[in-house]
């Protein structure tokens, strides 16, 4: 698991890097896990993030970063295998179970994750969170979608504009 830096863990074979969240919390993780991020990969390949320097991530807070790293650490071994062609069905099922559990989260956390996955360019996570939102939309009526995704109530003027639009298209606006 990702843990705030405490000075230990640089003696193993795996290279470690330090990431610094927007609220100045330091996370030390294996370079392989952090490299799931296309953005970080370049810096890490250049030798950055090691030692006491750390890579500052001004757009990601510590709560979100810890969640992102949880994903990266879990997915790093499979990614290292090049998409895991020889992964067993058990491994894949385990990852799937992890993913399902991982996105079972509060909407504001999901929002932060979507933003972070985008900023850090973590492809698997980007598609996982987008899929989660798509699942939240699936099978719902327009009003249910508005509620689910947290749209505020329209003002009367907005409602009138919407109604005119609806009329043109014949959409029912409940």
């Amino acid at each position: 698991m990702a843990a705030p830096e405490s000075g230990d863990g640089n003696n193993g074979a795996a290279r470690m890097v330090t990431l610094i969240s927007s609220d100045n919390t330091r996370f030390e993780v294996e370079a392989a896990a952090a490299s799931l991020s296309q953005t970080l990969q370049l810096t890490i390949l250049d030798g950055g993030g090691g030692g006491g320097d750390g890579i500052p991530l001004p757009n990601v807070d510590s709560a979100t970063l810890s969640k992102v790293l949880e994903y990266c650490i879990k997915h790093a071994p499979a990614a290292a295998n090049g998409g895991a062609p020889n992964a067993t069905a058990v491994d894949r099922a385990e990852l799937e179970r992890f993913d399902n559990e991982f996105v079972n989260i509060d909407q504001s956390v999901l929002y932060s994750l979507i933003m972070a996955a985008h900023n850090l360019e973590i492809e698997g996570l980007q598609s996982l969170v987008a899929k989660k939102v798509a699942d939240m939309i699936k099978g719902k009526s327009p009003m249910e979608i508005r509620r689910t995704l947290g749209f505020p109530d329209p003002t009367p003027e907005e409602q009138a504009e919407m109604n005119a639009h609806m009329l043109e298209y014949g959409w029912a606006y409940e």
Binding site: D106, S108, A134
Partner: protein
């Protein structure tokens, strides 16, 4: 405060609308003012961050990534969520993302528009996937009709009540145009949202229609005019581009290699107001060269059959002709001036179904995909006089969907039949 962060992204009132005014969990029906912003002691352990950011606050590009992953069956309510959703869903970016994610498949889209007010305020859409590998059952949805058409149905006289009885349907990109007599419906193949648009300048019935990448052409279907009309979807306007050499009725249209073909049907005379039949035009094809506006010499399909269906695919014209017994299938090679008819394998008709004398055959055809490497044909055949003579014993053929693989050796295969209620539907091939 959160308002400013949202403002930059979108233009309309929705920019303000997507600001989190309420926690996502509130369950009150949002009609009047939200009473209080009661942050009911959330059981959220990560309560370090106070700001509530609902998904609706995502920037357009990230929201689009989410929308692009919604299963197609759940797409049709989405444009009604808000104007921002509507414009995102209508964007090219949405189409490209869905294609990139592998959510677009070659599909036969059948539309059944109610022909009178008694059928209510919805029309029906059926989708049949044409992937031979995955023969899914047809996906059927009822969709609301746009208000202008609804009024037409409810308040219109006899003339308008049957506006879509013999409608022709063509696709321009993801948009499907249902062209009826005095009314045109424009349907987004992906979301099913429909609105009415400009009707043809001359009312037509059983006419020829076909589309290029960005224009629609219609001809025939009226004894009062020989005009060929062109429609520009961007301008929502029709104009007359040519006069046809024959006034065909019950004809089929196709576009291939920059030529608009008008095929089959009967030629009607302008002199007799009743539209008397002048000469049999059933076996011939008129060709309008679209760039020059010049008509080529009419071409007769070999074998003396009547053209009952036509489409363009991969730059070639394909026609199905009906004969005294059975059907034939032809390709017109358009290389050089004229070209030659190439006989192809005839569409297979199930045993027990008679196609020939005394049987009226209609074949709606369309090229599938941009490459046009497949052709879909929807075959309907019914005895001309029910219970009498030759046709009486024949089993009527309804909504038979066949797919011809041009690239893969020229073979016909069967797709699932059109569902009940879609036997007279207008059909078109789309990517959705």
């Amino acid at each position: 405060m959160a308002g400013e962060s949202c403002h930059s992204r979108s233009l309309s009132w929705l920019a303000r609308s997507c600001i989190p005014a309420d926690p996502a969990r509130h369950t009150a029906v949002p009609i009047s003012m939200p009473s209080t912003t009661n942050l009911i002691s959330s059981t959220n352990p990560a309560s370090e961050e106070e700001e509530e950011s609902p998904i609706s606050a995502l920037p357009d590009d990230l929201l689009l990534e989410c929308l692009a992953r919604v299963p197609r069956a759940s797409l049709h309510p989405l444009p009604a969520v808000c104007l921002r959703f509507a414009s995102l869903l209508a964007s090219d970016a949405f189409l490209h993302l869905r294609r990139a994610r592998g959510h677009l498949r070659p599909t036969l889209l059948a539309l059944s528009v109610p022909s009178s007010s008694s059928h209510g305020s919805t029309f029906a859409r059926a989708l049949i996937h044409l992937d031979a590998s995955r023969p899914d059952p047809a996906e059927v949805a009822a969709l609301p009709l746009p208000a202008p058409l609804l009024n037409l149905h409810c308040h219109g006289g006899d003339a308008s009540s049957n506006a879509f009885a013999h409608a022709r349907v063509v696709a321009v990109g993801r948009e499907v145009f249902v062209i009826g007599r005095g009314a045109t419906l424009r349907v987004d193949a992906l979301t099913g949202s429909a609105r009415s648009c400009a009707p043809t300048l001359f009312p037509r019935k059983k006419f020829a229609a076909a589309a290029t990448a960005d224009r629609i052409y219609v001809a025939g279907g009226s004894s009062r005019t020989a005009a060929v009309e062109e429609y520009d979807p961007a301008a929502d306007a029709w104009r007359v581009v040519a006069q046809a050499p024959r006034r065909r009725y019950g004809c089929a249209g196709a576009v291939a290699g920059g030529v608009f073909y008008v095929a089959g049907g009967v030629a009607v005379s302008s002199s007799s107001p009743g539209g008397g039949i002048e000469a049999c035009a059933a076996g011939t094809v008129d060709a309008l060269h679209l760039a020059s506006g010049a008509w080529g010499a009419p071409r007769a399909v070999p074998g003396g059959g009547c053209v009952v269906g036509a489409c363009g695919a991969g730059g070639h014209l394909y026609v199905v002709a009906s004969h005294a017994a059975g059907l034939s299938f032809w390709r017109l090679g358009v290389s050089g001036r004229g070209g030659a008819w190439v006989p192809l394998e005839a569409p297979p008709v199930p045993s027990g179904c008679v196609v020939g004398l005394g049987v009226a055959v209609r074949v709606a055809m369309a090229g599938v995909g941009a490459a046009g490497d497949r052709i879909v044909a929807v075959v309907n055949a019914s005895p001309v006089r029910r219970g009498h003579g030759v046709g009486g014993a024949a089993v009527p053929l309804q909504g038979l969907v066949l797919v011809y693989d041009v690239a893969g050796g020229g073979k016909w295969t069967c797709a699932p039949d059109l569902p009940h209620g879609f036997r007279r539907a207008a059909c078109v091939a789309v990517e959705c």
